[in-house]
C-alpha cells in the first residue's frame, strides 16, 4: 500500500454519519418524491446527535428514469433543499453509487462540509416498460439484447469455460433469498430451493426467473461530512477508504467469463484503501442476476477465476460465514430500483459496520466492508462498474 496514494485519494477524508432507506417493493401508493422524502427523513433521524437540514450544503440525486424531467429539482421538491447546489447523476446500474462517489469528491476537494446523497427509482408504475423499450430499434447496437440476455451471455461463457453448472449458479439465488427473507426492507421475503430455481421458467437461457432480480420501487439516503467534523454528529462514523469506477465493453475482446470493468474499479478502490480482498469482512455486491454475483467474487478477488462456486458450497459467504456477501438479500431479494441500489447497499454496510443491522447482522464483527455495482449501458454494449471500501 502507498501512503501517497491514500493521501491523494478519498482515504478517511469522508465520514458517513446518517443512513436510511424505505422498504423496497411495489409502491403504487407512494410517489417518486414521497419515496425520496421518506428516505431522507430516515437518514436525518439516524444521525445520533441530530442534524439541522440547514447544515447540508449540497446534494446529489441518483436516478435513471425520473418522472418529471431530468434535473436535480426532484430532490429539492422532495426535501425542501432549495437554494443549494443539487445535481442529478446517472451512470447505468452504478447510478446511486456514482452519486455517492461524486459527493465524496466534493467533500474531499474541500468545497462542502456536509452533503446529502439520495438514490431513487420508481419502476413499477411502468411495469416492464423501462426495460422492454430499450434496444428495439437498433441495427448492430444490441437490438433485442435485454438485461437478462447480456448477463446470460456471460453465464453461458462462464459455464462453458469452467464446466460450471446451473446448480452452481442457483446457489447464489438460494443464499440471497434466505437472507432476504430475514431483511425487513426486502421486496421479496421468501426462501427458495435449488430445485425451484432450476425448474422456474426460462427468461433468457441459461437464466430462469429466480436467477433474475425483480422490478422494484425504492429510495435510500446517506448524509456525509468531512471526517474531522464527524464527532459533531455521531460517535460511530463510518469512513470512506477507497472508491473506484471503470467502464469496459466485450466488443474490445475477452471471452465473457468475467467483467473487466469490475476488476479495474476494484483495483482502484483497493489501492486507495490500502487493503486486499482477503481483508474485506462483509460485502454488498451486484447480483442483478445470480451469475453476476458468482463472477463478481472472482473479479473482486474473493476467489480465483472459475472457483467462485466453492465460496457458496462451503458457505463462506453465507450470513453466518467468514465473509458474508449480500446479507440484505442482494438485488435478487431486496429488489433493484436502479438509482437506489448502490445507495441502499451503502446504507446496509453502514449499519453492518456499526452493528445495527438487526436480523441480518453478520457475526464476524466487521471492520472493512465493500460495495459493488456492475451495470450495462449504451443498449447493452458496454458495462460500468463502481466499487467502494468502507471502514470503521
Amino acid at each position: 500500500m502507498s501512503k501517497t496514494k491514500q493521501q491523494n485519494g478519498l482515504y478517511r477524508k469522508i465520514a458517513i454519519v446518517g443512513a436510511g432507506m424505505i422498504d423496497f417493493g411495489e409502491l403504487f401508493e407512494k410517489s417518486f418524491e414521497s419515496m425520496v422524502e421518506e428516505a431522507y427523513l430516515h437518514a436525518l433521524k439516524s444521525v445520533n446527535k441530530g442534524i439541522d437540514p440547514a447544515q447540508i450544503k449540497a446534494a446529489w440525486i441518483g436516478t435513471l428514469y425520473p418522472p418529471q424531467g431530468n434535473s436535480g429539482l426532484l430532490l429539492s421538491f422532495a426535501t425542501g433543499l432549495f437554494e443549494i447546489p443539487v445535481t442529478r447523476v446517472e451512470n447505468a446500474c452504478a447510478t446511486g453509487s456514482d452519486a455517492f462517489r461524486t459527493a465524496c469528491m466534493a467533500i474531499a476537494a474541500g468545497v462542502y462540509d456536509v452533503v446529502l446523497v439520495v438514490g431513487v427509482e420508481k419502476m413499477r408504475d411502468d411495469g416492464a416498460g423501462h426495460i422492454q423499450r430499450s434496444a428495439v430499434k437498433q441495427l448492430w447496437g444490441g437490438r433485442g439484447v435485454t438485461m437478462p440476455a447480456f448477463f446470460g451471455l456471460h453465464a453461458t461463457a462462464y459455464m462453458n469455460k469452467y464446466k460450471a453448472t446451473r446448480e452452481d449458479i442457483a446457489l447464489v439465488s438460494v443464499k440471497n433469498h434466505h437472507n432476504g427473507a430475514l431483511y425487513p426492507h426486502a421486496h421479496y421475503r421468501f426462501e427458495c430451493s435449488v430445485e425451484e430455481v432450476l425448474k422456474a421458467p426460462f427468461i433468457s437461457y441459461p437464466l430462469g426467473l429466480y436467477d433474475c432480480c425483480p422490478v422494484t420501487d425504492g429510495a435510500a439516503a446517506l448524509i456525509m461530512c468531512r471526517a474531522d467534523l464527524a464527532p459533531r454528529y455521531t460517535e460511530k462514523p463510518v469512513y470512506v477508504l477507497g472508491s473506484g469506477l471503470a467502464t469496459d465493453t466485450f466488443f474490445r475482446g475477452g471471452d465473457l467469463s468475467n467483467f473487466p470493468a469490475t476488476q479495474f474499479a476494484a483495483q482502484q478502490a483497493y489501492e486507495m484503501a490500502g487493503v486486499t480482498p482477503d481483508e474485506i469482512d462483509v460485502a454488498e455486491i451486484h447480483d442483478c442476476f445470480s451469475i453476476t454475483e458468482l463472477i463478481s467474487y472472482e473479479d473482486l478477488g474473493f476467489a480465483q477465476p472459475g472457483q467462485g462456486a466453492a465460496l457458496l458450497k462451503e458457505k463462506r459467504v453465507a450470513l453466518e460465514g467468514e465473509k458474508p456477501i449480500n446479507p440484505s438479500g442482494g438485488l435478487l431479494a431486496k429488489g433493484h430500483p436502479i438509482g437506489a441500489t448502490g445507495v441502499a447497499q451503502l446504507v446496509e454496510l453502514f449499519q453492518q459496520l456499526r452493528g445495527e443491522a438487526g436480523p441480518v447482522q453478520v457475526k464476524n464483527r466487521p471492520k472493512l466492508a465493500l460495495q459493488h455495482n456492475i451495470g450495462i449501458g449504451r443498449t447493452a454494449t458496454g458495462s460500468v462498474a463502481c466499487v467502494h471500501v468502507l471502514g470503521l
Binding site: Q132, R133, V136, K137, L139, W140, G141, G142, R143, G144, V145, T146, P148, A149, G152, L153, H154, A155, T156, A157, N160, P201, F202, I203, S204, Y205, P206, L207, T249, F250, F251, R252, G253, D255, L256, T381
Partner: protein
C-alpha cells in the same frame, strides 16, 4: 448488392457498412471498428488510422443465450449470440433458421441479409445469422 433506402438518419449514416459488411481496421493494433468509421481505437485507445475492410459473412459463436421473454415484434424462443466475424469485428447476432438446442459456443455461423425490423411501416434490413452450411461463397 442493393443499398436499401433507409429514411432515418441513424440508419442512413451506416447504410453502406450495414449493407456490405464493411469494417475499419486500426493500423496500430488490428482491432476492427464496425459499423461506424472512427478516428480513435477502442482497443488500443489511440488516435489511429483505419483501413477499410471487406468483412466476410462468416463467424464463430463466442457465447449465446436463448431469449424467452422479449417485447412485441420478436419471435421467441430466440437464440442470440456474440459472434467474431472471420478476420473482422465482434458483433451481436440474432439467430434465424436455428433450433435453440443447436446453439454451441465455437459453432460456425453465416450472415444473411434479411428484414431486421419494421420502422413506421418501412422494412429495415440487416444481417441475421444461421448455422453455417456452406464452406465457401
Amino acid at each position: 448488392m442493393i443499398l436499401v433506402i433507409m429514411h432515418k438518419p441513424p440508419q442512413w449514416r451506416i447504410a453502406r457498412e450495414n449493407a456490405r459488411l464493411i469494417g475499419y481496421r486500426c493500423k496500430h493494433c488490428g482491432f476492427v471498428e464496425f459499423p461506424e468509421p472512427r478516428k480513435i481505437c477502442k482497443r488500443c485507445r489511440k488516435p489511429s488510422e483505419f483501413a477499410e475492410l471487406q468483412m466476410q459473412p462468416y463467424g464463430r459463436v463466442i457465447s449465446f443465450v436463448v431469449q424467452h421473454r422479449l417485447p412485441e415484434g420478436f419471435e421467441t424462443p430466440l437464440p442470440l449470440a456474440v459472434i467474431d466475424l472471420e478476420g473482422g469485428a465482434r458483433v451481436y447476432g440474432q439467430m434465424t433458421e436455428c433450433k435453440p438446442d443447436e446453439m454451441k459456443i465455437g459453432m460456425s455461423v453465416e450472415a444473411e441479409y434479411r428484414i431486421f425490423y419494421d420502422d413506421d411501416g418501412l422494412h429495415i434490413y440487416s444481417y441475421k445469422f444461421r448455422p453455417r452450411r456452406s464452406e465457401s461463397m
